[in-house]
């Protein structure tokens, strides 16, 4: 075994012993739930209780118990987190495994959600409201009548699924064309109104601001900067004239404005990524390892 191999093995063993000791002593990574009875609104029906996650410090209270499935889940989540973090050391089988799980789970997740919320709610419940009301969606409003116009989106859906067939996949383009045409139309209207007209409207500012105490220098300067900034950036993105002379100067100013914009974007992105990492590390240290307790969830334990 190589030197790094030995080091890794030693580290793993130490970590394993640590986890065992923690488990044996104070415990860690346990999830507590409380069973709350659900009041069934139909008489004669069997009632059931809903397990709601509670803070571990409430472990002595009535109905509070350890949920073994959620405890296993938390450990699983911690392992997945560590697997992904191991990518920082280098691409490795653990990371690849976690990534493979992620890809499969997310595709499955999206499909299930699309089925229940899109297809059942919006298609089936309009084509066969009585059937759906008596099976999947008892709460479907009585006012919902059969709307046969929804045969059309059903047809489009079938066409779309033709893509999966080895022959006739081109038929799916008809559905796709509807999809694309509708998006194009709606986007055209939305973007022209909000991103063009309204942005110009918001840029129309008085270059001299007079407040209650007379001439307001800083507000005036601010408005002037915004207007000059927008115009000079637009000049930079103007492709019909070469950037020479005055136009060149203005577009240079424009690129400086853009650079400040990008600098701000840079700073905010860095901030965001760090926040995500902090949340993951907090999960490991708080929910799993129980070494910190920032939200006082195990106070006095």
């Amino acid at each position: 075994m190589s030197r790094s191999g030995w080091i890794w093995t030693a580290l793993m063993v130490v970590a394993g012993i640590y986890l065992l000791v923690r488990l044996a002593t104070g415990g860690m990574g346990l999830v507590y739930v409380q069973d709350q009875p659900v009041e069934v609104q139909e008489p004669g029906q069997e009632s059931w209780s809903r397990a709601v996650g509670v803070d571990p410090k409430r472990q002595g209270e009535a109905g509070v118990r350890v949920s073994w499935s959620r405890t296993v889940g938390t450990w699983l989540a911690a392992l997945f987190t560590l697997c992904i973090l191991s990518f920082l050391y280098g691409d490795n089988p653990l990371y690849k495994l976690a990534e493979a799980v992620f890809v499969g789970v997310s595709a499955g997740y999206w499909m299930v959600v699309g089925f229940w919320t899109g297809i059942v709610q919006n298609l089936f419940s309009k084509l066969a409201p009585d059937l759906i009301r008596s099976s999947l969606l008892p709460g479907l409003p009585e006012s919902q009548d059969q709307e046969l116009i929804y045969l059309f989106p059903l047809l489009l859906s079938v066409l779309m699924l033709m893509r999966l067939s080895p022959v006739g996949g081109w038929i799916s383009r008809w559905a796709l064309a509807f999809f694309i045409g509708a998006t194009a139309g709606i986007r055209l209207l939305g973007y022209l109104q909000s991103d063009f007209l309204r942005q110009i409207q918001s840029t129309i500012l008085p270059l001299v601001v007079v407040g209650s105490q007379g001439f307001d220098f800083s507000a005036s300067l601010q408005n002037l900067t915004i207007v000059v900034g927008v115009l000079s950036c637009l000049t930079y993105f103007f492709f019909s004239i070469e950037h020479k002379g005055v136009v060149g100067g203005v577009s240079r100013l424009g690129i400086w404005f853009l650079m400040i914009t990008f600098g701000a974007g840079f700073g905010y992105t860095v901030m965001g990524r760090i926040a995500l990492m902090a949340q993951r590390l907090e999960f490991l240290a708080d929910d799993w390892l129980w070494v910190i307790d920032p939200a006082s969830r195990r106070l006095g334990m």
């Binding site: 926040a275 907090e282 920032p294």
Partner: protein, 286 residues
């Protein structure tokens, strides 16, 4: 081996380690700093605070677990603030992965605001696929897409939604978003065409591109974790009882790791550039 060579060949895993430590250490020691809300955050707060009690507020939670670290402190603070004002809350999401995150917000209501009753004070409409398409529909006729709430109960049977035609009846839209579809789409297809009031909370990545809509089309924006912390503080300033609630200060305690990690990034940029220019000068000299 000289210094520049050492730095050039430095394994980047050491830098990764530095970054992890700079986040982990403040976390372990519970490092926190005071926050004073900026004017933008106060704008957002007053948009909610100045609504009459019991106003209708749409809570559009368009984010996923991947950005939960940045956004759930905001979402939680929005929920608490609205609940103190006794607003009626209508939760929905345009992200397939957002449903359970709405549940997290509802758990806060159940835990901390026992007076809030489902169907009378708040409702969970859940998710519908279609992105901006959903927005285009709910501004006209909400029940065409949302005939039932998330538990399958008809909206006609809930007191809160019986007379709800569309979201133009909302007094405010609160949107927490991590990208597309999100704040931009709500501004484009709901707030702008119908002059609805909207405030947003977004990730650091998407925040800068939303500033152009302020204040005309977007009343205010919470940008990234810093704004979340300031907003938490701003709500605590109004409702000091929250001071006792540690779970209501997730954003505030994140600012400890944030400070150290930002400093590390700056230090690394400066160090990298110093080495770069030193090398270049040496190259010119020789």
């Amino acid at each position: 081996m000289n210094l520049t060579e050492f730095f050039r060949n430095l394994d980047r895993r050491w830098i990764f380690l530095l970054m992890l430590l700079s986040i982990l250490i403040p976390l372990l020691f519970g490092l926190r700093f005071p926050e004073s809300p900026s004017p933008m955050v106060l704008n957002v707060r007053s948009a909610i605070e100045e609504l009459p009690e019991g106003s209708d507020v749409l809570m559009a939670w368009d984010f996923d677990p991947a950005s939960r670290g940045e956004l759930s402190p905001m979402a939680a603070a929005f929920v608490r603030h609205c609940a103190y004002k006794k607003h009626k809350l209508y939760f929905l999401t345009l992200w397939a992965t957002g449903g359970p995150l709405i549940q997290e917000s509802i758990d806060i209501l159940n835990r901390e605001f026992p007076g809030y009753e489902y169907g009378r004070d708040y409702v969970n409409l859940g998710f519908r696929p279609g992105g901006e398409g959903v927005i285009k529909v709910v501004v006209g006729d909400l029940k065409k897409l949302f005939a039932n709430d998330v538990d399958g109960t008809s909206l006609d049977e809930l007191a809160l939604t019986r007379n709800l035609k569309n979201i133009r009846q909302m007094d405010l839209i609160v949107n927490v978003s991590a990208g597309y579809p999100g704040t931009k789409e709500w501004v484009l297809y709901a707030a702008t065409p119908y002059d609805l009031e909207i405030v947003g909370g977004t990730t650091g990545v998407s925040a800068p591109s939303l500033y152009p809509y302020i204040p005309g089309q977007l009343t205010g924006l919470l940008a990234a974790i810093k704004a979340a912390a300031e907003y938490e503080q701003a709500v605590i300033d109004l409702y000091p009882a929250l001071m006792e609630n540690d779970t209501a200060q997730e954003g505030l305690r994140r600012m400890g790791p944030q400070l150290l990690a930002h400093m590390l990034v700056i230090l690394l940029i400066v160090a990298g550039n110093v080495i770069y220019f030193w090398e270049r000068r040496k190259g010119v000299a020789s």
